[in-house]
């Protein structure tokens, strides 16, 4: 972030002579300077800024900045180990700052940008469209997102309930989030009445 700010400030400083004295571009050196100041540096700054913004879109703070997502953010604080999102967030099983993105993106090669394009559609709906009364996933949650971290862990492999269903779980035939398994995730319907951790988060 510091390097980005320095790059942006240097870009502005180098543009100033062209604004004040555009005649400096009459000679070759001046034209090269103008090309670097107007094209090269701003392009570098633009790409660096874009990268910073894309990284920010992965944060919980960003996701929950829209009112419609605030209960989902609150569900990270539910003080109950049965609640999957809260358990993962509170015990740092996913990075706390980017918890939403850790689970709600695809781990495929183009997953990051696909998720971001979908996010742009969400911005459109938030401000210009009608927010649906019930928010649900575009497609059933893929076990791949769980197995990406848990797939080779001993606790997953040796868990007794998993042994008979291992093939189906790995093939996404039996969802990790099925009722009776790990079916309680965000529970936004109940979040206002549940105990939270840390206690001051209300």
């Amino acid at each position: 972030m510091t390097l980005l700010i320095i790059l942006l400030v240097v870009s502005i400083v180098l543009l100033a002579p062209i604004v004040v004295r555009p005649s400096l571009t009459t000679d070759r050196a001046g034209r090269i300077f103008a090309f670097c100041a107007i094209i090269v540096l701003p392009l570098m700054a633009g790409f660096a800024g874009l990268s910073e913004h894309v990284e920010r879109t992965k944060t919980v703070e960003f996701c929950t900045s829209c009112h419609v997502m605030q209960k989902y953010g609150k569900s990270l604080h539910i003080d109950d180990l049965e609640h999957l999102a809260g358990q993962h967030w509170q015990y740092n099983r996913v990075p706390q700052e980017t918890a939403c993105f850790s689970c709600h993106t695809n781990y495929t090669l183009y997953g990051d940008y696909k998720a971001k394009l979908r996010g742009l559609r969400h911005v459109y709906v938030q401000y210009l469209g009608t927010i649906p009364s019930k928010i649900s996933l575009y497609s059933p949650y893929n076990n791949r997102e769980c197995l990406h971290c848990h797939g080779s862990s001993r606790s997953f492999v040796e868990a007794v309930p998993h042994k008979d269903e291992m093939k189906a779980i790995r093939a996404n035939g039996r969802s990790c989030l099925d009722k009776g398994c790990h079916g309680t995730v965000h529970d936004v319907a109940q979040v206002d009445s549940l105990s939270l951790w840390p206690k001051e988060e209300k």
């Binding site: 870009s11 502005i12 555009p22 009459t26 090309f35 800024g49 913004h53």
Partner: protein
């Protein structure tokens, strides 16, 4: 293109890019989807306009 017209265009190009960069700096001060939209939709447009104007002025100059 006369030298004076060229200088006006160069000044305008640099100013447009400068405004775009200032908008980009401003968009970094808050974390919200609108910050990204402002960065791309406003800052990016200003910068693109400035760069396009500069490149056009180079081409119009006829290699002098």
């Amino acid at each position: 293109m006369s030298e004076q017209a060229l200088e006006v265009r160069l000044r305008a190009s640099a100013l447009l890019v400068m405004v775009g960069i200032i908008v980009e700096i401003a968009s970094l001060t808050w974390r919200h989807p609108t910050a990204f939209i402002v960065f791309v939709g406003v800052g990016g447009l200003f910068m693109a306009a400035g760069m396009t104007s500069f490149l056009w002025s180079i081409v119009s100059r006829g290699g002098k």
